[in-house]
Amino acid sequence: MAARNRAKLPYLLVAPAVALLTLFVVAPGVYALVLSFQARKVVGGLLGGGSKLVFVGFDNYGLALADPELWSSIARMLLVALLFIPATVGFALLFALLLDVPRVRLARSTRLAIFLPYAVPGVIASLMWGFMYLPATSPIGGDHVDFFGSTTVFFSVANVAVWGSVGFNMIVIFTALRSLPAELYEAARIDGCSELRMALRIKVPLVLPAIAMCTLFTALASLQLFNEPNTLRPLSNAVSSTWVPLMKIYEDAFVDSDVNKAAATSVLFVFAALAVSFVASRTVSRVNR
């Protein structure tokens, strides 16, 4: 009896996760795939005509890829990512190294303050920064600097994203620093190695895996960029309704009601996301080795 239970239990334990995976990852994926190969075509004549779904092969993919707005949205996303990834990882590493300096003051409270924005939703963060950018309410000189200019808007969007993610990444790198054995530094210190040299020559190379993982996390986050530009949109004309790929998919599905084209773009996007994270994670594991 016990033996039979032992054989049955793991399946029971795995079942809920597998069921959820099937229903909410696999099934939507397959359904989007099916939709992406169909299109609604008008049938019948002038009288009593309707529309029905017909198989159209790769037409939707052709349509989606030929849409210049998709490519501009990808370009804008890449521009934000170009600012967002290095700034987030760079500041996270800087703050983590500073926290690790012996006898640095106020370490606990500054660490907490920098970590706090992690618990603030992207929408709320964008609201706060949005009002700080808005000329009429800006405390940071929004009446002199145009935070929603054609170039500055990329910095403004990236800034909200950086604000929300530096803290978490800082903690990840800081935890990695803390797990290094203290004896490592003793010899260097006796040899008169400065804290700065020690940080650059000893600490950074040793926490490279954590840095690589943070880079992967932030790269994935930039693909999913949606909340920040979408929330800033009502405050400024500089952000269009198709500013980043996810907003473009949303626009196709819900504003233009072209579910099939939206499904095709979603499928392309899922594959692109998987490709990016696959390459990135391969790089991470190479760094780890």
Partner: protein, 278 residues
């Protein structure tokens, strides 16, 4: 190191902390202003009138107090979703870590692949599928897709491997404990500290989620805070007096999370996130 040099790292850290706190401080200042003061007084100075009280009253009476319904919804989604997702993750991670069974490798590899797939790109396909079965604009439609947390399962598997010794389970078996009981009374208990982190990560993920509830929900009494405040902002574009409500709502939605966060601080085990790397 000379004392002057030691000040430098501290100063840089303080600058970083200020950068992170300023938006919250400013939203606090802006919330003290009445509708007219918001656009007419110095932006970095608070008003000491009855502005903030009036704003809270206005917000609480806006559409029959719908703001507090949003707050309640957000907590409900995050709490229920967080607890259930952690239990699902714990069960799955425990089984993969401690049992040899057919399909174990396949399940684990598929879950690893899911970790790399940004969940949010699935929101629109999830909506399309759920609208087919009529589950959109329902609480289940928002909750169910957020119960599967591949990263949580991964963390639980790693944690179960190190926290639940095989020998202890063997001893339990010799004493005649059933496999199910071993999971509930030994496994779950030993995995406790790791589970708290998995729960907090998922709680914050659901609390912060916007796109999924945004596409799933149409009736505003089911909105979480993020979607509610966004819809308020959209109305504000036409009616500027709503801006002070958005600002007050933003402040009121940030405060409880910060309080919760500070009080739960010591339960965070971020080293788990990093440790999972190896």
């Amino acid at each position: 190191m000379s004392p002057r040099l030691r000040l430098l790292p501290t100063a840089a850290l303080v600058l970083g902390a200020i950068y992170c706190i300023v938006p919250t401080l400013w939203i606090l200042i802006a919330a003290t202003k009445s509708k007219t003061d918001l656009f007419s007084t110095a932006t970095y100075l608070p008003s000491f009138g009855a502005g903030i009280w009036q704003n809270i009253v206005d917000l609480s009476t806006y559409q029959g107090g719908i703001f507090w319904q949003w707050m309640l919804n957000s907590f409900g989604y995050a709490l229920i979703g967080g607890v259930v997702a952690s239990l699902v993750s714990a069960a799955c991670g425990y089984a993969i870590a401690l049992y040899e069974f057919r399909g174990r490798k396949v399940v684990f590899n598929v879950i690893l692949a899911c970790v790399l797939l940004p969940q949010i790109v699935l929101a629109i396909p999830q909506y399309l599928l759920l609208s087919k079965v009529g589950l959109t604009d329902s609480l289940i439609g928002v909750l169910l897709p957020q119960l599967f947390n591949p990263y949580g399962i991964y963390l639980c598997k790693i944690y179960a491997q190190s926290a639940v010794p095989d020998s202890l389970l063997e001893a339990g078996r010799i004493d005649g404990a059933g496999e199910g009981r071993l999971f509930f009374s030994v496994g779950l208990r030993l995995m406790g500290p790791g589970l708290v982190t998995v729960f907090l990560l998922q709680f914050i993920a659901i609390w912060n989620n916007f796109l999924l509830p945004y596409v799933m929900l149409t009736s505003d009494d089911k909105f979480p805070l993020t979607v509610g405040l966004y819809s308020l902002l959209r109305h504000g574009a036409a009616e500027a007096s709503l801006y002070s409500l958005v600002i007050t709502g933003t402040l009121l939605s940030v405060l409880p999370v910060i309080a919760l966060f500070l009080s739960l601080q010591r339960f965070w085990r971020i080293d788990l996130v990093t440790g999972a790397l190896k």
